[in-house]
């Protein structure tokens, strides 16, 4: 891709779902690196608190209370960004929500609500981004997919379906923009299980509180990958080696993966705690008691780094070196073969 992207400290970034988890972590990291921010979420108070915090540190921030599932709300985000800063360099479609439960136990209305946020929210955001960015120097559109963009899982069927759909949307949009030679990079971020408020905010139809299966990674790793993709055009990025592993083995041996998941994912997506009848979630409305937290503090080990992601982000430098070494190794091996030695004297 011949798209030129600015350094973060010269950028205006739009981030949806900015008051929690990956979005919050990314907003803080981007602010620290000098970016100007347009932060969107449903909860205006949480946005104001976050904006004050960031402004105290010298960041220029504009906030928009918006539900990404509503096209008019997303138009307001684009409008606010253009009014305040005159341009958008990177648009990050991050807002997302889940439901835990068997497909037969989840009402279709709840599934549709999830899809409205996770898929249509990304469509609205991406198209708003294209509208403002295509003819004004371009930039990056970064969509949050998931390892579940490539392989489904029991008990989160519609979440996986929405993330599969986000992948297809991003892939098709990318081809259409490249055909027009638009100066836009479209990146799909595919995180493995991340320690955010994901399980707390999810609606739950299981008898136990939701949990995520190990290995679990820190949200900072995802934020890092997002900000890297904001400055260097990338097609897609797995965050966490486990995400890549699920994708590859899911493709190569789907029946094995079916059996593996049946043996593990029913247990590992349930915590030991029973699900409380008074439990609140953030499917239809934001949950103000659980805002502005980057992490839940999931039990068990949380990996603070991912060697796989670190290598793949910088692979454009490493890959040619590895290929070159591989080529030399192949040449040397062939040269040692007796038949060839005889032939070439």
């Amino acid at each position: 891709m011949a798209v030129h992207l600015r350094k973060i400290d010269e950028q205006v970034l739009v981030i949806t779902g900015a008051t929690s988890g990956i979005g919050l972590t990314t907003a803080r990291m981007a602010a620290e690196q000098g970016a100007k921010l347009v932060l969107a979420a449903r909860n205006a108070e949480a946005l104001d608190t976050l904006a004050s915090e960031l402004r105290r540190k010298g960041t220029q921030v504009c906030t928009v209370a918006a539900d990404v599932g509503v096209p008019a709300d997303v138009e307001r985000i684009g409008h606010a960004a253009m009014e305040r800063f005159g341009r958008i360099d990177t648009w990050i479609n991050n807002a997302g929500i889940s439901i835990f439960g068997r497909n037969e136990d989840v009402p279709v209305e709840d599934m549709q609500r999830l899809f409205q946020t996770n898929y249509w929210g990304v469509v609205h955001g991406s198209l708003e981004a294209v509208k403002h960015m295509k003819t004004r120097g371009g930039g990056a559109i970064i969509n949050l997919g998931s390892e579940l963009s490539e392989r489904s899982v029991p008990l989160q069927g519609m979440y996986a379906a929405s993330k599969h759909a986000v992948k297809a949307f991003s892939d098709a949009l990318r081809m259409e923009l490249e055909k027009e030679k638009a100066p836009l990079s479209v990146t799909l971020i595919k995180p493995a299980a991340i320690d955010t408020m994901f399980a707390v905010h999810a609606r739950n139809y299981m008898d136990k509180e939701p949990a995520l299966p190990p290995p679990i990674y820190a949200p900072e790793i995802v934020a890092n990958a997002i900000l890297y993709a904001a400055q260097h055009p990338k097609r897609d990025v797995f965050v966490g080696g486990a995400a890549k592993a699920i994708s590859s083995s899911g493709f190569a041996t789907p029946r094995v993966m079916d059996k593996f998941m049946n043996a593990s994912m029913f247990k590992q997506q349930k915590s030991d705690l029973p699900s409380s009848p008074k439990r609140r979630d953030a499917l239809y409305e934001s949950d103000p008691r659980n805002e502005l937290r980057q992490r839940q503090g999931m039990p068990g080990h949380v990996a603070e780094s991912s060697a796989y992601t670190a290598v793949t982000l910088r692979s454009h430098k490493i890959a040619p070196v590895l290929l070159g070494l591989g080529g030399l190794l192949a040449a040397w091996t062939l040269a040692r073969r007796p038949a060839l030695r005889k032939a070439f004297g």
Binding site: A165, A172, K179
Partner: protein
């Protein structure tokens, strides 16, 4: 999967989108095999004509005018099946529709409508099917995906997203049913480009009439594959070797596929004819003038057979022998011939 499925002539089969293309081909083939049928589509007249044709050949058919995107309509399909035949053995979610155009061109309303049919229609149908299959001794749930379940196609972005979502939903449902040890086989069918009225029924935003890139396979090939899955539990089946090829290449070489599609797919999905103003489509309402056609009949070359598709449907023992035999042959042919020392 050790689910036992009945022979077609002992089955009650529910089929959506029965009045056109793949659905129509499948309905006719199933009727010929002696299955009892519950056929659903939006257009009541077309259903009546089709049912009449089949009854004249001795088939037992019930019809339900229904929009799969409406849960109450799907419940009506289920009720009709139980009231008329007492049970369901196979439920085939086939109804689907397309749009042609870039994301920037297609209206949000049309995108939503497509998703309502292609994804929510499958969700509604699958959940109704599971309820009925569980209550009546099990059977087969067959969802029609697409090669676009594995790889997005430019100009058909929302269609691709809907088929990706169908794949994921089907996959999670399959695992949950297996955990329950429910006697239900869940199959995802992934056809390549098929010669049906699909491009004519699709809503078009392009300058030219939509068409599909070659190779085009026959709807009868898909029908045979679907009905195989109604008798033999299968996880997923591609229809057309091209579909499998695209899936593998997309997984291994995504950037190359992007470039290939950019070079080919924009031209190949536009026919020479310009798109007529006031062009009708079947996105929001059925197109009554274009019902009851299995093939597109555009004079394209249609591939009637697919060795890869047939291969998938062979038994595990046969597949093992074929692949094993091929590997053995490859090994034998690449061995260095033994050096003979000739003594004069």
């Amino acid at each position: 999967m050790t689910t036992k499925l009945k022979k077609l002539n002992e089955q009650v089969i529910v089929l959506t989108g029965a009045t056109s293309g793949i659905g129509l081909a499948t309905a006719r083939m199933a009727a010929e095999s002696g299955a009892k049928l519950v056929l659903a589509a939006r257009e009541a007249d077309a259903l009546d004509t089709l049912a009449h044709e089949m009854r004249q050949r001795g088939a037992e058919v019930a019809t339900v005018a229904a929009d799969v995107g409406v849960p109450e309509d799907v419940a009506k399909i289920g009720r009709t099946a139980v009231e008329r035949f007492g049970r369901v053995d196979t439920w085939i979610n086939n109804a689907g529709i397309g749009t042609f155009g870039t994301f920037e061109q297609v209206s949000l309303d049309d995108m939503q409508r497509l998703m309502q049919t292609n994804l929510w229609g499958v969700v509604n149908g699958s959940l109704e099917a599971v309820k009925l299959l569980k209550a009546h001794g099990g059977g087969a749930l067959i969802n029609v995906g697409s090669e676009a379940s594995d790889r997005a196609v430019a100009l058909q972005g929302t269609y691709s997203a809907s088929k990706h979502a169908v794949k994921a939903f089907t996959e999670s449902l399959r695992m949950e049913l297996e955990k329950d040890k429910a006697p239900i086989s869940v199959t995802l069918i992934k056809p390549a480009a098929i010669s049906t009225p699909f491009p004519m029924h699709a809503k078009n935003y392009m300058e030219h009439e939509p068409t599909l890139p070659a190779p085009l396979y026959s709807p009868e090939l898909v029908a045979r594959t679907i009905l195989h899955a109604a008798e033999v539990p299968e996880r997923d089946l591609f229809v057309g070797g091209q579909a499998k090829l695209m899936s593998v290449l997309s997984q291994l070489l995504p950037r190359s596929m992007d470039r290939f599609m950019r070079g080919a797919i924009f031209k190949q999905q536009q026919a020479p004819e310009l798109s007529a103003p006031g062009r009708r489509d079947a996105l929001h309402q059925p197109d009554a003038r274009r019902e009851l056609r299995q093939r597109a009949d555009l004079g394209d070359k249609i591939t009637e057979t697919s060795p890869y598709t047939s291969f998938q449907m062979k038994s595990t023992a046969t597949k093992t022998m074929l692949v094993g035999g091929a590997l053995l042959a490859a090994w034998a042919l690449t061995r260095k011939p033994a050096r003979r020392v000739w003594h004069a």
